[in-house]
């Protein structure tokens, strides 16, 4: 982390802890995109997304005095957002468990294709985003943090509490699964 970034974080946090409401609004504005991306990727219901994002920042405000500057403020906020999102998924008994057995999941993901779905889907971007939605939460979060937020492997590991090797592996497998489906899509397109 750069000294300038650390300094900004320190100044902002100390102002918030001193009760400066404007400083907390600035903190929210600086990190709402990150939280919205993470929560948005994992939670389908738009109403629940907004509520969960609000809960994340309420928690940030509550726990800010415990932030010890061992990481970037954004990494710490992302950790809170990830925990809130997985708690939400667990409470609603949604699909949050360990990653399904690799071979079986890969086979199901790639082969369970309705050819009509592929040809009906006119927009490739929409098609890829739909595929991302079908991935397990752990895959979705590493893809989001790496590609959208530009986080490094160690940072993603810190947010998700996964070892760096697991982060790399999930990222590789998720991209590979998406690529296999897109390859089928593009292959069909070429035939048309």
């Amino acid at each position: 982390m750069s000294n300038a970034e650390m300094m900004d974080d320190r100044m902002l946090v100390s102002r918030v802890l001193a009760g400066d409401v404007q400083a907390f609004m600035l903190l929210i504005r600086q990190h709402e995109r990150l939280v919205a991306h993470m929560v948005g990727r994992l939670i389908k219901s738009p109403e629940d997304r907004d509520e969960l994002c609000q809960d994340v920042f309420l928690r940030v405000h509550e726990k800010l005095s415990e932030f010890s500057f061992q990481s970037k403020l954004s990494t710490w906020i992302a950790t809170i957002a990830w925990r809130h999102a997985i708690n939400y998924l667990r409470k609603r008994k949604m699909s949050f468990s360990d990653i399904p057995e690799e071979d079986a999941f890969t086979k199901r993901f790639i082969e369970e294709v309705n050819p009509e779905t592929i040809t009906e889907e006119r927009d490739l971007d929409e098609f890829v985003l739909k595929l991302v939605n079908e991935l397990p939460p752990q895959y979705k979060i590493v893809l989001t943090l790496y590609h959208l937020e530009g986080m490094s492997y160690p940072e993603i590991g810190e947010v998700t509490k996964m070892p760096e090797g697991t982060v790399k592996n999930y990222l590789f497998r998720a991209r590979n699964l998406l690529k296999e489906k897109v390859k089928m899509y593009l292959g069909k397109e070429e035939l048309l």
């Binding site: 609004m25 709402e32 929560v39 998406l178 690529k179 593009l186």
Partner: protein, 132 residues
């Protein structure tokens, strides 16, 4: 196979065009392009204000609750005091002050010493906070 795929992913991630199967490369390029695109999960423009309003509301409720507990505590204390006095027949007696009259100087010194310690503590705390 895994090494081949990894190499493709690394090169596409760096923006290079790998010398490999065209459809594999194109597929990865499309996947990476879409993954980097903002998915458009927008929060309301007044999101920050609504969070701050929720915090202030929560704090207000906490203050009200604290006052309620404080009031209840005082009330129970008075009840306990009245009950104790009525059951034990306690009479207030300041006779102990007569015993302390011989040590007036010591009592005044004690009070002044405690005040001095408090003043010193506050001063040191302020200096520490200013340096942190």
């Amino acid at each position: 196979m895994k090494a081949y795929e990894e190499e493709l992913q690394n090169q596409v991630d760096k923006g290079q065009t790998p010398d490999a199967d065209g459809l594999d490369v194109k597929s990865y390029q499309e996947v990476f392009r879409v993954l980097r695109k903002d998915p458009g999960y927008e929060l309301s423009p007044r999101f920050a204000e609504s969070v701050v309003a929720a915090i202030l509301n929560k704090q207000q409720r906490k203050i009200s609750r604290d006052y309620l507990w404080f009031g209840l505590g005082i009330f129970l204390l008075v009840i306990a005091f009245v009950a104790t006095v009525s059951f034990t027949g306690f009479r207030l007696d300041f006779g102990f002050l007569n015993a302390m009259a011989d040590f007036k100087g010591l009592v005044i010194f004690g009070v002044l010493f405690i005040l001095f310690l408090n003043w010193l503590d506050r001063r040191l705390m302020k200096e520490r906070q200013a340096h942190s």
